[in-house]
Amino acid sequence: MTYASKIDREQITHYKGSLMRFVDEFRDAEMAQVLSAQIMSLCEPGRQYKFMEVCGGHTHTIYKHGLEDYLPNTVTLVHGPGCPVCVIPMGRVDDAIFIATRPDVIMTTFGDMMRVPGGRGSFFDAKAQGADIRMVYSPLDSLRIAKDNPDKRVVFMAIGFETTAPSSAMTVLRAKALGLDNFSIFCNHVTIIPAIKAILDSPDLRLDGFIGPGHVSTVIGCRPYEFISRQYAKPLVTAGFEPLDILQSIAMILVQLDQGRCEVENQYTRVVPWNGNPRALEVISEVMELRPYFEWRGLGFISHSALRVRDAYADFDAEQIFEMPGVRVADPKACQCGEVLKGVLKPWECKVFGTACTPETPIGTCMVSSEGACAAYYNFGRFTRERVKEATRT
């Protein structure tokens, strides 16, 4: 095995201006080689390992940095449903577009949602047809738009797991404090535990362990995952988002398996507190509550798996302000997003991957979101490793 050549730190400083602290140290190729060797030595000869990385952000990192080059063939990473854009059913997108096309509405959204296809097109298409849909970096930006446009109604498309829910909730509280009467959110926040449980209950998949969500855990902490080790006997390690974090987490899972342990461990200790963020949890509970049911793309209806705005904040709830059609749209028969989201199919195993379904012409959500498994594989990983080894040899 060859070790990577030493990174010339001078070079990085020169080319990138300066090292990004808490980021670049965790992208060190030399340390990656070391972890890779450790992982290989921890693998039982002849045994196949399947680990699920739940978070869309992890899927993205793995492909963006070419992490699989550091793993032996016996370790397979399976992508899970932790992409909040990917699990939004088409009907919900239609509801959002319905709101956006009201004449006095300005809809604000994260960039990711723009190209998600609904039953009759995406936000992008609606915008081309005249809807006022604006991309924002933060939900707070919507408040400035609301202040500047008192005669319009501003609706923020609130999506994401527990990571983003506190931000949406804080924005509602801030809107209330500012006395804004023309702002609301269309709440599509979902929760991670029911999704993981749906995976574990699925008969199609046999996993050896989980690379646990990173930023969701800053809010909910690590305790909620304990049912996975207790009831399903699988280890889980909450992992950071830099490539070294993920490699180290894989090593930690293998150590557990090697030692016959089965626990929840925290690799992302610099950011994730074991008990989560109490203030964030408080703020969510103030503004939101769990829905009795919510429909997930590919996973069907799951109870207590999503958030909605409480009645006390009905003035800020788009679902109460607007009469939405509430239409349900079936996924096209050939669309296999559901199986990809559950980790049963690899992206390229979907029958329409890369042909009918491409990032430019997406059929399903997995190909649209920057965290979708299909998008990650198509944009970053669509090549045969052996052919490419020759090309990238220096």
Binding site: S18, M20, P84, R174, T218, Q248, Q267, R270, A280
Partner: protein, 90 residues
């Protein structure tokens, strides 16, 4: 949506809007620190920023510990590989 980036607090702005000026590699932005009330942030602290909100305070000691462990493993492995190589020369 998982896009969180570390930034350093330059100044906590006491204007009642829970904002702080944060630096990310030379880029400065106002970030809402309302979710970290309990941490009593001050200039110099590092936070994880996510869609305009500080979601968590970065524990620098833990970061050092993680890196040290990786480096330590590195040394252990280099030592072991050296030992292996030496034993092969015979």
């Amino acid at each position: 949506m998982c896009l969180g980036i570390p930034g350093q607090v330059l100044e906590v702005l006491n204007d009642g809007a829970d904002l702080a000026k944060v630096d990310v590699s030379g880029v400065r932005r106002k970030v809402n620190i309302g979710l970290l009330e309990h941490e009593q942030l001050g200039a110099g602290d590092w936070v994880l920023i996510h869609v305009g909100f500080a979601l968590s305070k970065i524990d620098e000691n833990e970061a050092e510990a993680t890196l040290d462990m990786l480096k330590g493993m590195g040394q252990a492995y280099t030592d072991e590989m050296d030992a292996l190589r030496e034993s092969m020369i015979e």
